[in-house]
């Protein structure tokens, strides 16, 4: 993140980099890169912690609206002028934060003290690490790694380890069950997640996130963006990625490790006060990171959907797309019941993995047929691409849902 911003970009586009250069300019040259790195980390931490706070409120509001009620709206910011202390409950996250910070921290006597303490720390650390490789804007990536996608998944793997640590160290049976569930879930969903990403890597020819975004640049016919999600394999890959991401971030309907109605609060049962808040934060970080990766890989990253809209700076586009995905997460959470453990693993192994493998072939076909000349042949190519993924979807889907169907009922004579 040390490259200067090209002057061809608009001023708004360059603002973050200019700010960075302004601050690093105060330091001597040899340690500038360190400062820049720290600055990036700090910015990510601050920005995403703020977004996390607002997201908790947003989620509560959205779920409330779905349920025909207003949600938190009485906790304003009393120190904010001209609002009479009421701004849509904007103070709610702050109040929650203050409360969580001042709450007593309980460690059960039977618990594994060290692991119990380490789990939330490890979790937050790993989930923050994943942000490092996501390009938030045209020139905004903390570390432009060659193997960025691989890094993302490597860092993400640590989070599940932390969930296991939390569950196991609490020495509570519900937590232990949650730990087992978290492990099984991870083992099951890491594979479809990776497999859904492979076609993108294949077609972009790169593991670097900036490279993948660059591969989606431009517009077909001048108005259709070349985002991967708009191709048949990309759409299928995105759906698989999204489902697997839901599972990876332990969100409904895959929130089995902290299934309230079954396991109290799962691995969080024994956590109180600030540690609990850390877990909560890490869950949102994980959700944001996976959404960010999804945006990067499938939705064209920070690219604008239309050439005219490029005046809006790229990081805003990225933010908008990220929000869209997160809203989708929330919408799903407000609607669906939870799966059972065996159904969860079956969905992964018998549905997502085969589909992801087929999608791999589909992507290969797409790559090989890229040179088919003429619009009609391109249409045929598109049709084949859709058919290759939709037909297996129906077939596998029917097998998966065998024995499960709406029923008709009889009435007593």
């Amino acid at each position: 993140m040390t490259a200067p911003a090209p002057l061809t970009d608009s001023f708004l586009e360059r603002v973050p980099l200019l700010v960075r250069d302004f601050i690093t300019g105060w330091f001597p040259e040899p340690i500038r890169w360190v400062v820049a790195g720290l600055l990036a980390a700090l910015t990510i931490l601050l920005v995403f912690a703020t977004i996390f706070a607002l997201l908790t409120l947003l989620e509560r509001k959205i779920i409330a609206r779905v349920q025909n009620r207003p949600g938190p709206n009485r906790t304003g910011l009393p120190w904010l002028p001209f609002t009479e202390g009421r701004v849509f409950g904007l103070g709610q996250p702050l109040a929650d934060g203050i409360k969580a910070l001042t709450k007593e921290d309980i460690v059960p006597r039977d618990a594994d003290q060290v692991l119990h303490f380490l789990a939330p720390v490890v979790l937050v650390a790993f989930s923050l690490m994943t942000f490092a490789v996501i390009p938030f804007g045209r020139n905004l990536v903390s570390v432009d790694l060659d193997a960025a996608v691989l890094f993302f998944f490597a860092a993400g793997a640590g989070t599940e380890l932390a969930v296991f640590m939390a569950g196991w160290s609490s020495h509570n049976k519900y937590s232990l069950l949650a730990a087992m569930r978290a492990l099984a879930q991870l083992i099951s969903y890491e594979l479809p997640l990776l497999l859904s990403v492979v076609p993108v890597v294949m077609l972009a020819g790169k593991l670097s996130t900036t490279g993948i975004v660059a591969a989606q640049a431009g517009w077909k016919f001048g108005f259709i963006p070349r985002w991967f999600v708009l191709s048949p394999w990309g759409a299928a890959g995105f759906v698989i990625f999204f489902i697997a991401a839901l599972a990876e971030s332990n969100r409904s309907p895959f929130d089995l490790p902290e299934a309230e109605s079954e396991l109290i609060a799962g691995h969080l049962t024994e956590y109180s006060g600030f540690k609990y808040a850390l877990f909560f934060m890490a869950e949102y970080f994980g959700m944001m990171a996976l959404s960010g990766l999804g945006v990067t890989l499938f939705l064209g990253g920070w690219q604008a959907p239309l050439p005219v809209l490029e005046v809006i700076p790229s990081y805003l586009w990225f933010g908008a797309k990220l929000m869209l995905l997160i809203l989708l997460f929330m919408w799903i959470r407000a609607t669906l019941p939870r799966l059972r453990m065996d159904q969860l693993t079956r969905l992964a192994w018998k549905f997502l993995v085969p589909l992801a493998l087929i999608n791999l072939g589909n992507a290969a076909f797409w790559h090989l047929s890229a040179a088919w000349p003429g619009l009609p042949l391109q249409a045929v190519r598109y049709a084949i691409g859709v058919a290759v993924i939709v037909i297996p979807f129906f077939l596998i889907g029917r097998r998966l849902s065998a024995g499960v169907a709406p029923r008709t009922y009889r009435y007593a004579p």
Partner: protein, 226 residues
């Protein structure tokens, strides 16, 4: 198709999400302290004692300490002590009155049986529900000073029922007065020398407390602002 049911469900929630911004049927919240739902007339919470005179609630209680409600109260939360002496009621008849009338609202189950069994329309159900308090013994045991509320208040919270009751009482009183008049006439005819004294009820009862200790019952005002 796999997923169609899920999409249908998502459509319903989306409809509700959007609807909550413009459709009152999909935004059902009454934002309590500022807005209030209109309590139905029949709503009941805890009993209170009807007093005929607003300026002297304790002195003009309709209750004659017959103790029927005390006996019938299922959770047994009423405590009554009958007065030693009698005093005239609103109709001018000499009646006992409750020297002590306590209701333990920490026990009361708001069943309204005391109201049903009361032959004197002296105990009615109140509608005040904002009585949360950090105190238990000092605040939740209501004595007759806290329980007594004027008839006008009763007319405010249960207008239909109060109108019926008032009509019935008025009829009773009229009948009573006519009877008394007849009796008086008879008495006058019999012995014109003595002067009957069906005087207006003079309040000799103990003075009312200045301010009851329970929050929420300080001033008898209707709880609904509709």
């Amino acid at each position: 198709m796999l997923g169609s049911g899920i999409i249908q469900g998502l459509a319903v929630t989306a409809k509700n999400l959007v609807g909550s911004f413009h459709d009152p049927a999909r935004f059902t919240t009454t934002q309590y302290p500022e807005e209030r739902t209109k309590l139905p007339e029949n709503y009941r919470n805890f009993p209170f004692l009807v007093a005929d005179a607003a300026n002297d609630p304790i002195g003009s209680l309709r209750c004659v300490a017959c103790q029927i409600c005390e006996k019938e109260c299922p959770p047994q939360c009423i405590y009554i002590e009958k007065s030693k002496d009698k005093k005239p009621d609103a109709a001018g008849k000499q009646q006992f009155f409750p020297a002590v009338f306590d209701i333990d609202t920490s026990v009361c189950m708001s069943c309204q049986i005391c109201v049903e069994v009361c032959p004197f329309d002296a105990i009615k159900m109140d509608q005040v529900f904002e009585i949360a308090t950090p105190e238990r013994f000092n605040a939740l045991l209501l004595d007759r000073g806290q329980l007594a509320k004027p008839n006008t208040y009763y007319q405010q919270i249960h207008p239909t029922e109060a109108a019926e009751v008032d009509a019935r009482l008025a009829a009773d009183r009229k009948a009573g007065e006519e009877k008394a008049k007849a009796a008086a006439a008879a008495a006058a005819a019999k012995a014109a020398a003595a002067k009957a004294a069906p005087a207006a009820p003079a309040s000799t009862a103990p003075s009312a407390p200045k301010s009851p200790a329970v929050p929420g019952t300080e001033a008898p005002k209707p709880p609904t602002t509709a």
